[in-house]
Symmetry: C2
């Protein structure tokens, strides 16, 4: 059961991607962001993806070094063709462009097609924070989620992410699937042989199930909301419109999307809003701090210890894993080691 330091994994990932032909700067960025996902506790978006990305590169579906083009632009918007480069490289480029547009026009809006998997969205939405902007990002992805009232896979887990700058308080970073849970969480329960809670999952006939083994048997995720699951469904449809239709990337349930050989990729929608040109930035910071402090300080319900602000759990996990290292499960580690050896890359020694 290897435990590795973040820096060990970063170097390993970078070396693997370079050995696969990626430019150094891209290799470093992608590896960094995978390890960041592990650090913040999202192992499903972490180094577990290294062998998957490697397979994508080998089959020519993921194209390191390929040109990212701005197909159309206005002072406030850009439409970007990611050239099927790493999603991380594409999304980073796109958010830089989006921030530039917001500097011009207070609001920047960017859509992207032909992007591979971007990983966790927070990494890009948070880029806006350094510029005192609110960052917004959403993607669609392979369909695993049923519409409300349905039982077949029509929608991606379709996350929405919002990053909001604060003053002395840490920023708020909300990064949420519009399904009850993201896919990765089902995988974790499956791996651990644990039963799911009610309300998360269905078998392919649309019957509620707590058995995670349906994951490999055509199981279907439900949309966020429980008895108000039509709301999560509505948000998920909205994400399809913004990231699949408006971007031209294709919807999760389209033939176009499903016929792609490797992974359908992420259609991307992003926005940046320059706070200081809509209100006094100092006042904004103070009011956000006030809001967060009042909410944090409000009375706690039975069964809870504290009230958190979105982003708190990830920040805490990151501090802990920077100290204690990152646990990589045997199977993933085995795949990574095999890949590294095949490419002649040095493998660090875990604890």
């Amino acid at each position: 059961m290897p435990v590795l330091q973040a820096e060990q994994l970063r170097t390993l990932g970078e070396s693997i991607f370079v050995a696969l032909g990626a430019p150094e700067v891209e290799a470093r960025l992608v590896s960094d962001l995978l390890v960041e996902a592990n650090l913040t506790g999202f192992d499903s978006h972490g180094v577990i993806r290294l062998p998957i990305y490697a397979r994508g590169i080998k089959m020519g579906a993921v194209k390191p070094g390929s040109e990212i083009r701005v197909v159309e632009e206005t002072p406030s918007t850009a439409v970007i063709d990611g050239g099927w480069n790493f999603g991380q490289v594409v999304a980073r480029f796109a958010m830089d462009k989006c921030i530039e547009k917001a500097m011009n026009s207070v609001v920047g809006l960017v859509t992207v097609h032909n992007s591979q998997h971007v990983g966790r969205l927070n990494a890009y939405a948070e880029m806006a924070l350094e510029h005192d902007m609110i960052g917004v990002m959403s993607v669609n992805s392979a369909s695993y989620v049923a519409p409300f009232g349905g039982k077949s896979r029509q929608l991606g887990t379709n996350p929405l992410c919002f990053a909001v700058p604060a003053g002395e308080e840490p920023p708020m970073v909300l990064d949420m699937a519009t399904s009850v849970w993201a896919r990765g969480k089902i995988m974790v329960y499956l791996a651990r042989g644990e039963e799911l809670p009610e309300g998360v999952f269905m078998d392919p006939e649309g019957n509620p199930t707590i058995d995670p083994s349906w994951y490999t048997g055509g199981g279907v995720l439900r949309t966020l909301g429980g008895i108000a699951g039509y709301k999560g469904y509505g948000l998920s449809l909205l994400v399809e419109v913004l990231t699949g239709v408006l971007s031209g990337a294709g919807c999760s349930n389209s033939d176009e999307y499903r016929s792609r050989p490797f992974y359908g990729g992420n259609g991307i929608f992003m926005m940046a809003i320059d706070v200081g040109r809509l209100t006094d930035i100092g006042e904004f910071r103070g009011r956000v701090d006030n809001l967060f402090r009042r909410v944090r300080g409000s009375p706690v319900a039975p069964g809870f210890d504290e009230i958190l602000i979105p982003g708190d759990p990830e920040r805490r996990m990151r501090e802990r894993r920077l100290r204690e290292g990152i646990f990589v499960e045997e199977r993933t580690w085995g795949e990574i080691v095999t890949l590294a050896e095949e490419l002649g890359v040095d493998v660090p020694v875990g604890l």
Copy 2:
């Protein structure tokens, strides 16, 4: 048990507001939108508000005819002071401005402070549809919702609304509270003496309850999401930031908001996105139609008859109530009749 035709209620409402000193055009608009809420099935936002608005006007908190000012603007954005006019008048003005900004800059973004209650958000987000734009609107309001893990009223029901143009399919109109349910639904259960479903409501000690009578005893709504209620909570906080902080209107849980004599009003955030300048509008329409048709046509889960697109239920209810009339409960009707008689306004005869 009076049942009235929409046009009867429109005329009645208009006459009442005119008698209370509102300019005719404002009186007509506000009355129209209240009746639209009844038509679409949202009685909690319908003519039940007539006596409440009247009280607001009499105490000088709602200011018909007052000037709505653009305090700051750029080619893409505007900050608006609603002058405490009717929220409907303010929001209509603001969305017109937002659409104008989107015509300039592809994306328009408008915030509003000093607005009274705007009613249902769909009325404004849908204005974007006529211009082939996506409309976005959100407001905060008096706090009735606990943060995830909390038990006190810190957040408004904080709705989000999105209107998306389609081609031959009807547009999608998602208008959802970020609490499990909106307040009005609890009121209806209370009025009918029915038990609530699990997961919606808490008593003031934070214990889950199915007893709607806590509504008048300090009961607290829960945020959307059930076991993932931290997501609805995150969205609700985001709404506070956009509509309470960015707009300068004040957060639901702020002293400023709570100290207002009548009703805290609605802080407003809105956006319009001009689709045709980001992608081909014909292609967009076709892809949205495709998405909606595939989802609608996908297999139905046990216990369901069909899969709907957000906006369908309201459209159906509207057709039905245009035919069958609008039922107004005795108590509301009594209050309206008293008000009309006091103002010397003719009262129509219901069925």
